[in-house]
């Protein structure tokens, strides 16, 4: 099947799509056709799959003449390979189709096209021969250092740390810290699903210039939303190339009068070319997602994807367990009212319509977390209360919590992190399981908009 020592395993990086592949076919009448492809996929040691979205001429040629020639370039070494292929079949369902569909969905989601740009079919080819195109000897190959994937022992250590966490705040911190310092993923996001599992909101991040806490993404939007919606990891090693391709397809659709969905900015590390998203699923339900970025192309492999998936699974289990324990049932102690700090003041403006809350004119948070803060501050203003419990919050109708799976603890931690991040004069401190304290170090002026 292959030429000398060149097998499909050696072409692993070629299948990440960092450099577009090239496919030639020919009609029964002997007219060649040649086109770029966004990506080729390895199916097994003897087969490759090509996604079929727009290949009308290629499909007609293959029906007449089931042979093809494929050019691939290794994005690290820039070695080039030519594969002689025999077309075997077209899949419109099954595992290979699903794998390619996930890739295409992620590609489409980069520019908000997930509703109009979908995989039609996966063409499966048997590889007859792999030949290495001679490289120019006067241009030396400069090896590019690769980041090794985490070891099984490192993954196990992080899972153990996650298992030892006794509250959500510690769990979030242990996870992002372990991904960074233990597993070597310097740029990570941890997102949690909202109560209806329709949106994900960022609970913590590491290695990003701007703090992303509170940023949201809907299921199905962007790479994160697609991975969360499908409940399977998504790995992209060619973000720049994929974004160009997706933008070109979008322009083509717009030119034909089809208006895709809104174009979404890709929330990513600047200049990142690689991203992995691993959804965190427990008992069949989405509870969050882990995201890792790297600047380099094709920076993540199968081992990275597996490692992140294991950590995400461990996180999901811990989240569910902690949520079931977040209320000890005891009433909050009634502490004596505290006097506000002299000389400082903070203006809190709250919009009841969506829970948006601003501190001194700067946006802080919205939704359930915003309504929680407003409720706490009103009670504090009324009688000076500082100690609260999750149980009493759940009984507060102004919070508009759902009757089930309210994720209250997650919202409290999100609020705490946003206040900490802002170094606000208002802070939350956990005082026990299902109990917390409101610390107010200024005179608070409340305004309901």
């Amino acid at each position: 099947m292959t030429d000398g020592d060149v097998g499909l395993d050696a072409l692993r990086r070629c299948f990440e799509g960092a450099i577009p592949a090239v496919l030639a076919t020919a009609s029964a009448g002997g007219i060649p056709n040649i086109t770029y492809l966004s990506k080729a996929h390895a199916v097994d040691a003897q087969r490759v799959a090509l996604s079929n979205q727009f290949f009308s001429k290629t499909a007609r040629n293959l029906a007449e003449n089931p042979r093809a020639s494929l050019l691939l370039i290794d994005p690290t070494t820039h070695d080039e390979f030519r594969l002689d292929l025999a077309y075997e079949r077209t899949d419109r369902r099954g595992p290979v189709f699903e794998q390619l569909r996930a890739d295409i969905d992620a590609l489409a989601a980069l520019t908000g096209m997930q509703d109009v740009f979908r995989l039609r079919a996966a063409d499966i080819y048997r590889v007859l021969h792999v030949g290495r195109v001679p490289a120019n000897p006067s241009s030396a190959w400069v090896p590019i250092p690769e980041s090794p994937p985490p070891s099984l022992a490192q993954v196990a250590e992080l899972c153990a740390r996650i298992g030892r966490c006794t509250d959500l705040d510690a769990l979030v911190e242990a996870t992002v810290d372990g991904l960074d310092r233990l597993l070597g993923y310097r740029h990570v996001l941890l997102l949690l699903a909202d109560e209806q599992a329709r949106r994900l909101y960022t609970m913590a991040s590491r290695g990003f210039d701007a703090e992303h806490v509170g940023a949201e993404v809907a299921l199905g939007d962007g790479i994160i939303g697609v991975a969360a919606e499908r409940g399977t990891p998504v790995r992209i090693g060619n973000l720049k190339q994929a974004t160009k391709y997706s933008a070109t397809v979008r322009r083509s659709f717009v030119a034909t009068g089809v208006e895709p969905g809104r174009e979404l900015p890709v929330p990513t590390l600047p200049d990142a070319d690689s991203r992995i998203v691993a959804p965190a699923v427990a008992a069949g339900e989405l509870v969050g997602a882990l995201v890792a970025d790297r600047v380099e192309a094709v920076a993540f492999g199968d081992a990275d994807e597996a490692a992140l998936a294991v950590v995400a699974g461990s996180l999901a289990g811990a989240l569910v367990a902690l949520r079931s324990l977040d209320d000890d049932g005891a009433p909050a102690p009634r502490a004596a009212a505290t006097a506000p700090a002299a000389g400082t003041a903070v203006h809190v403006r709250h919009f009841a319509v969506d829970g948006s809350t601003f501190l001194d004119g700067d946006y802080l948070i919205k939704g359930v977390a915003g309504r929680i803060l407003w409720s706490l501050l009103r009670q504090h203003a009324a009688d000076g209360r500082t100690d609260f419990t999750n149980r009493e919050l759940r009984l507060d109708p102004t919070l508009e919590l759902p009757g089930y799976k309210d994720n209250l603890e997650s919202r409290l931690i999100l609020l705490k992190r946003r206040l900490d991040e802002r170094e606000a004069a208002i802070r939350l401190t956990r005082t026990g399981r299902g109990r917390f304290r409101l610390d107010v170090a200024a005179t608070v002026q409340l305004e309901l908009a």
Binding site: A24, A26, P32, N33, Y36, R67, T77, H78, N136, T256
Partner: protein, 154 residues
């Protein structure tokens, strides 16, 4: 079928592909290393002189397809035609290859970050030039219009 605009596009330093087919119907994918419009409807494309399969195919069947794609926009156009001649590349052809590689690789480096020195590993060491009569042209830009004949409504 080779409009002035299309000729200018293919000469502009876009990514060039060359498709050929053997007498028994086996397609063969290759790269082009410079393109130039030499006469009305006649395109000259520089290819690797070491690609025996390509050169044999072109000589045997005369059928050829040339695709050009812009590195940034991914606008892609394909022309198909009949081979007029295949000859050893001239000094002018080789100079064109140098200019083509300088511009093409610089754009890739700026857009995608590939090191230029490594991209140069792809460049052949010897060249041939193929001249073809362009008979057809097609839009191949990724999207719903891919495959539409140029000059026809979608």
């Amino acid at each position: 079928m080779l409009s002035e605009e299309l000729g200018t596009f293919l000469e502009s330093g876009c990514g060039l592909l060359v498709g050929s087919v053997s007498p028994d119907g086996a397609p063969h994918a290759a790269r082009g290393w410079a393109a130039r419009v030499v006469d009305a409807g006649v395109l000259r494309v520089v290819v690797s002189a070491a690609d025996d399969v390509l050169l044999d195919n072109l000589a045997a069947t005369g059928a050829v397809a040339i695709t050009g794609a812009d590195v940034q926009t991914l606008r892609s156009s394909q022309v198909k035609g009949r081979v007029r001649s295949v000859v050893t590349a001239t000094e002018t052809d080789v100079a064109l290859v140098e200019a083509y590689c300088d511009g093409f690789f610089r754009r890739i480096h700026e857009l995608d970050g590939n090191p230029i020195e490594q991209l140069r590993r792809l460049v052949p060491t010897a060249f041939s030039a193929v001249e073809l009569d362009v008979l057809e042209g097609f839009d191949q830009t990724p999207g719903p219009g891919a495959g539409v004949a140029l000059g026809r409504p979608q």
